[in-house]
Every structure is written in C-alpha cells, then in structure tokens.
Symmetry: C2
Subunit: 201 residues, 2 copies
DNA sequence: AACACTAATCAACATCATGTCAATAAAACG
DNA sequence: CGTTTTATTGACATGATGTTGATTAGTGTT
C-alpha cells in the first residue's frame, strides 16, 4: 500500500510541522506567516508550496495525523471491554487511554488545544468527543425514555465538559496522572461533584 | 461621564459591526478583510482606520460590548437571589437569564459562538462561564473537603459543559425555551443524565 | 443662517505576504 | 554510474495593509 517516502520529503515535512508548532506557541497561529515557518524550518519558501497549499493545509494535515492515533487508541479499548462494572470505582479503560494518548503527545496537544485561534483543531477534537460520548451513552442507556434529559443535549454536555477538563489539564501541565483524571471525570459525570448531596436534606 | 456621541460616529461603527457579523457568517472570520468589511458597510476603507486598529480590534470591541450586557444581567440576578431551594425542581434565575440574554442577541451569539476561528470570543465567554460557575459552587459548597473532586476540575467541567450546551442550542436555532434549557442543565449537573441510576442495582 | 469643528471620502503611496514560475543545484534511487 | 525526484534561488504579478494630505460633507453652536 504505502510506498516508502523519499527521506527528503519526510524530513522537510517534519521540519515544517515542528516549526509550525513552535511558532504557534511563540506567536500564535494567526500572526505567523508561511515565510516565518520556512525561515524557522531552515527551508526555502517555495519548498513549502511543494507540500502544502497554505498555512491551514499544513495545520490541517498535522491535526488529522495526531487525531488518527487518538481515535485508533480509543476504539481499540472500546472494542476490548464489552462489559464493565461501574460500581468498581475504577475508571473505564477508554478514559485512561484518552488521557494517556494525549500525554504521549502532550507538547502538540497543549499547543493545539490551549493557544488562540486553533478552532480548526478544537472543533475536530470536539467532534471526536461527541462521537465518543454518544457511543458510550448508547451502550449504557439505549432507551431515550430512561434519560432525564434530551440525549443530544446530554451528549454535547459531556463532550464539552470532557474537552474542557482535558484542556485544563494541559494548561496546568498535567498535574495529575491519566488514571486520576479519568477517575475524576467518571465520578463527576455519574455522581455529581458533591460527596454529600446538598440538594437532599 | 459619557459625552453624547457624534451620530456619524455611532452610525459608522454600527455599520462596520453589522457588516462584520454578516461577513463572518457568510465567509468566516479568517477570510474576510478590512476591504470586505468597508465595502459591505458602504464606507471608505480609510474610515475604518479612524475607528479601529485592525480587524481584530473591531471584533474585540464588539465582543466586549455584548458580553458586558450578559455579565450585568447575570450579576443582577445573582444578587437578587440570596437563598434558593434546589428541591423545587425550578432552575435558578441566573440560568434562565443566561439563556434569555443570549436569545435577545441570538443572531450575534450564534455567529460568534458557532462560526470557525472565533476563539477570541469563545475564550472570553469561557472565562465568563468559569467565573459564574466558580461563584455558584462557592455559594453552594464552600468547603473543599466536601467535594468529591478537585474544585478547579469541577469548575472547568461545568463551565465547558454549559458553554457546549449553549453552543448546541444556538447551532440548532434555539429549539427549546430558555427556561427548559436552564432546567435541563440544572438536572444533568446535579442528578446526572439518567432517571434510574444504572450504576446502582 | 453662518460659523467652526469634526468626520468621511478619495487618491496615492510604500510595504509586505502571497502564490507561481523557470532555471539550477543537490540528493535519492536503481 | 546516470536518471529521476526534490530543494533552492531569484523573479514576478497580485492583493491587502496601514498611512497621508487634501477635499467634501455633516454636526451643533452661537
């Protein structure tokens, strides 16, 4: 299937992508130009256009590459676990793998999720989370009648919440382990944030 | 304090802001230029620079204006309600006012929250939600020891969840009333999404 | 109505990033 | 080795930017 890539091509693309990530971190995606990227990469500007249409194309391809790995990792662990004991107090493996996979590429995820003007990546990531949550909820409770809220609302609610917490975790430079984070998310999502329910006297 | 604004100035700024919103909706924020904006507004390009530094400055000022109204509305209803019965099944007024205020300016909120490359607005909105959630949680449970999860995580979790649902609501052209949406958010946040808790046999 | 004042228009300008091209040099491959 | 592919270089037209100075139009004050 995949022809072996000319080493010059692989090297050039990697240098451009590394330069992109660095520059987004330093100056923000909006401010950087194709000139900046090629200069930082030590390449000629014309070389850029041999590989990418424009700045967005470079970003877009970098996004898809990294998200492809994440989807594969999560689908793998979803397929593994057919039944799951929610009373064990243990987080679902898929949650752990989510945080682990992100920590493997934390440099890139941090830049792509926390820097400004990265909506191309964040919206792709949100799509991914929505899909993930929708599948999880469908497994757990396929009957809409037994939901206390509109399913679409609930899906978006949890997808956004998870992505928000992931972003927080990266902003703070991952102060907790993937397992701890997964546990917190499971707990708050199913039990709410309070130990003693303040709504019941 | 505030001198009466020259009607030419007010008119010009309004035309520029209207043109901005229209064009973001039609072509996306990234693609539009100062030329496009002034052309749509029927103004000379030089006039733009009499009022704003660049495209971002125009966007930024439009954001602050609209968010100022939202903050005021929510602070007002926060101040009114000192005690609140969470068992009433009624949503807190602040939640309702949140959705109502957004529905008053739904055209602008929809464009600013759902179009791509609007992270300047979405991150300001997220800050606002974080502040709102942090205050609400502090009132409800000031003691960290009685939280099942890290407070910062919980704050980000709910702020992101709320903003996600608001965005969904605007994407779908507000299919439910503000009161209904507020009720759904209260319910899912405190009780979880399931009528019968599937985690307890 | 005439006045001074401010805002908007217009044409012009230098600057900069873009995307493309043809010619050339360098590296990879068989 | 020679052939093919890739990267470099300098050049070019294009289009948006931000600014300027001179002019016209609108505001509101006396």
């Amino acid at each position: 299937m995949s022809k072996k890539l000319d080493p010059r091509v692989a090297r050039t693309r990697q240098m451009l992508r590394d330069a992109l990530v660095e520059l987004i971190h330093e100056e923000g995606y909006e401010k950087i130009t194709v000139q900046d990227i090629t200069k930082r990469a030590g390449l000629n500007r014309a070389t850029f256009y041999l590989h990418y249409r424009d700045k967005l194309d470079l970003l877009s391809q970098s996004c898809e590459e990294i998200l492809h790995d994440l989807v594969e990792s999560m689908n793998a662990s979803l397929a593994e676990t057919e039944s799951f004991d929610f009373m064990s107090g243990q987080p679902h493996d898929t949650f752990i793998h989510l945080f682990e996979q992100i920590s493997f590429n934390s440099r890139l995820y941090k830049v792509f999720l926390t820097e400004k003007n990265m909506s191309h990546f964040t919206s792709r990531m949100m799509e991914l989370m929505i899909d993930f949550v929708a599948k999880g909820m469908k497994n757990l409770q396929p009957d809409d009648e037994k939901l206390a809220v509109n399913r679409d609302i609930a899906v978006r609610y949890f997808a956004a919440a998870f992505l928000g917490v992931i972003t927080w975790w990266l902003e703070k430079d991952m102060p907790y382990t993937p397992k701890f984070m997964a546990t917190q998310l499971m707990r708050i999502g199913t039990r709410g944030p309070y130990i003693e329910d303040p709504f019941v006297k």
